[in-house]
């Protein structure tokens, strides 16, 4: 591996050949918005919120997937970059319920001055949530179509291929075959799609029910790291606990065993812990 020299926002930087512009930006502590990018998934570069201006390129380029090249001159905060980032956030927020995205996303919307309401009364993807099993809920009115769940269900983690993008254009959506309910699909309930979803479109049923009842309160939750008790792989679990009950299970993205991915047992098989004698 050799290093290449490039210029980002007027500063010369060294970057590993084969790494991306986003990697270089992060090394320089340039906060770059991302929605469809995740370190444990193949970049799909579809959300376009990470675009940067590359000298000599007619269009902006996605930082998440564009590899660094020697001599590149990149601007991450030019007028064009700010405009496209603002519009991407505005277009998304005008069509999707983004209220449950991370505070970071709301911070970017503020930074770029995104005002989704300026489009007026326009079409959205609003629809009732799909509740067809006891483990997790799919609320596609929150779906920004980042492809992450499809990747996690497919070759990037689970190799189950229970869901894919169907339809096209504004009507494109995540779907099982012929939109059948999850129990009739190939889903194995590993929950890796929940683990990668950035908008709360995919959510533990426990979390969904508590939110509906108004009892979900992250400020009262603690996270306990432990090792899954089931098989011998040794997956690291993060137990999210509220009021002495496990409400959600995740795994750290940077964990060498799981890379953030679990199976149905580690993800959902925690009820035995809280079966209390009465």
């Amino acid at each position: 591996m050799t290093d290449v020299m490039l210029t980002i926002d007027g500063r010369e930087v060294q970057a590993r050949e084969g790494s991306t512009i986003l990697d270089a930006c992060r090394r320089m502590s340039i906060d770059t918005p991302t929605l469809c990018q995740l370190d444990n998934l193949t970049p799909v570069n579809v959300c376009r919120v990470c675009v940067v201006e590359l000298e000599g390129s007619r269009v902006l380029v996605p930082a998440c997937s564009r590899k660094v090249e020697a001599g590149m001159k990149i601007a991450t905060d030019s007028e064009r970059v700010r405009h496209s980032r603002r519009l991407v956030l505005e277009l998304l927020a005008s069509s999707v319920d983004m209220s449950l995205t991370s505070p970071q996303v709301h911070g970017w919307m503020e930074r770029y001055g995104a005002a989704p309401s300026r489009f007026g009364a326009v079409a959205t993807v609003a629809q009732p949530p799909k509740i067809d099993n006891e483990l997790y809920v799919r609320d596609y009115s929150r779906c920004i179509l980042c492809y992450k769940c499809v990747e996690a269900c497919g070759v990037d983690a689970q190799n189950t291929f229970a869901i894919a993008v169907a339809g096209r254009g504004f009507d494109a959506h995540i779907s099982t075959e012929f939109d059948v309910q999850l129990p009739d699909s190939a889903c194995v309930y590993c929950g890796n799609c929940i683990g990668v979803c950035p908008t709360g479109a995919l959510m533990f049923k426990s979390e969904h029910d508590m939110r509906a009842a108004g009892t979900w309160d992250e400020s009262r939750q603690t996270v306990t790291e432990t090792v899954c008790p089931y098989c011998g792989v040794g997956c690291v679990l993060e137990l999210h606990v509220q009021d002495n009950s496990i409400v959600r299970v995740s795994s750290p993205l940077d964990n060498s065993v799981t890379a953030g991915h679990l199976c149905v047992k580690g993800r959902f098989g925690f009820q035995f812990v809280q079966r209390r004698r009465t």
Binding site: L87, L91, L145, A166, G169, T176, E177, A186
Partner: protein, 541 residues
Amino acid sequence: MDIRTTGGPATAEEMAAVDGLLGEPQPVHHHLAFGGRIARAQRHMLLPVLHAIQDRMGWVSRGALEYACRRLSIPPAEAYGVVSFYARFTLEPGAGVTVHACDDIACMLAGASVEEGARRVPCLGLCDRAPATLVERVGTTHEETPTPPREPPRPQGQLLRRVGLVDPLSIDSYRRHGGFVALHRAREIGPEAVIREVTEARLLGRGGAAFPTGRKWESVAKEPALPHYLVCNADESEPGTFKDRVLMENDPFGLVEAMAIAAFTTGCEKAFVYVRAEYPLARARIERAVAEARAQGVIDLDIEVRRGAGAYICGEETALFNSIEGRRGEPRNKPPFPVQFGLFGKPTLVNNVETLVNVLDIVNGDFANTRLFCVSGQVMSPGVYEVPMGTPLRDLIDRAGGLYPGRTLQAVLLGGAAGSFVTPAQLDVPLSFEGVRGIGATLGSGAVIVFDDTADMKQVLLRIARFFRDESCGQCVPCRVGTKRQEEILERMLHSRDARADVILLGDIAQAMRDASICGLGQTAANAIASGLAQLEVLND
């Protein structure tokens, strides 16, 4: 991969449609012995299989799709994503006969009305016969009948010199009209000399992007990775464009010969022609020409004709590759470019039909640098016209018989839906790449749609906005949501008294689509509308 199918069995007829294409299924022990590898390697047969089902049954049922999935080892959710992407495939039972009725710009100007029960479709590429329909009859004998031409095709210029003279069904007739002379000469002088001649002729791609053809050929020829693929892009879907159809229908051996030269020159072992679904006659004639040329030993190149399935985006080269591979026609991010990483991840030469046909003249030494234009809309004789580069637009319109008596010109749309409007004052613009750039336009795919004073330009702009909203693949946010918002806001502002705020909004969306979309569709989806709003008097204030 565990393929779970819960939709119930396919009918005998559905299975026959699939097996008719793939052959009888292998016994289970064969699948076990080879681990499904053979089935998975046939992934690229998904679209042909879906066509076989659609042609026979008139729709794709869940049972039929799942049977296809088992035969090809494709997860049903993924296959559903593919079948629901392409407009040609239907997921509900339909009638035995479907009328595909075009209501795109040229047909709209000709007063097209989509009858109840007919399927509204974007441009059928029959603009010279507007208003056009394609009548499809499904069953064991699948038939597609387009609106017939008004006049027989006539030869003209250089590229179209054989059109109407040569018998498109006869290789001997093609030979008598100078066929295969270029191929023989190419074999004599060798690949390097051919590339040099193509480069020196300064041929630019005729599909719309105008990339230097010689440079592309040289890059593919030099790529060390093997095999190389040749793909002829015959997915001519830009509204108002039908030149490649005229070439393929009337001079199919010309394209086959040109492809043989391209493949020989760039070291391609296998070639594909991706013909849009709306061109059944062109497809049949190319298939027949390939079979005949191979049977007679004139070419040894393996050329497979693939059929699009109703998706404008598949004219984008990387979306086209995905489509051939049996996937949703979603464009890939570039780089890597097709010359390095194209079809099946291999170095790929992709050229438009007209571009390839030009090579024959280059190799024969009689390259005239003419260009095909598709003149449609409100002119006396719509059709394909071959004129020298640099011909004034005014002369081209005159060639097409001029306007109807008593009408005056309102505008010309140059380059189709992704192009821009030209005003009567700009009519002397020379039709060359540099000439039109001077007025901020492009030649694009050679579509020239003429509007006289009776045309309702608001409706034209709305039709263009609807076209892009319909045809966006939905992959990237700027285009997926941007084309939707563009249509909504345009509709609103054309009926409002004060549109100033909406003009700004549309401009903002346009810039983001141009700058941040993955592919050319999104990058150009606002062009015609922005140019229309600037050049035409469509706003109320």
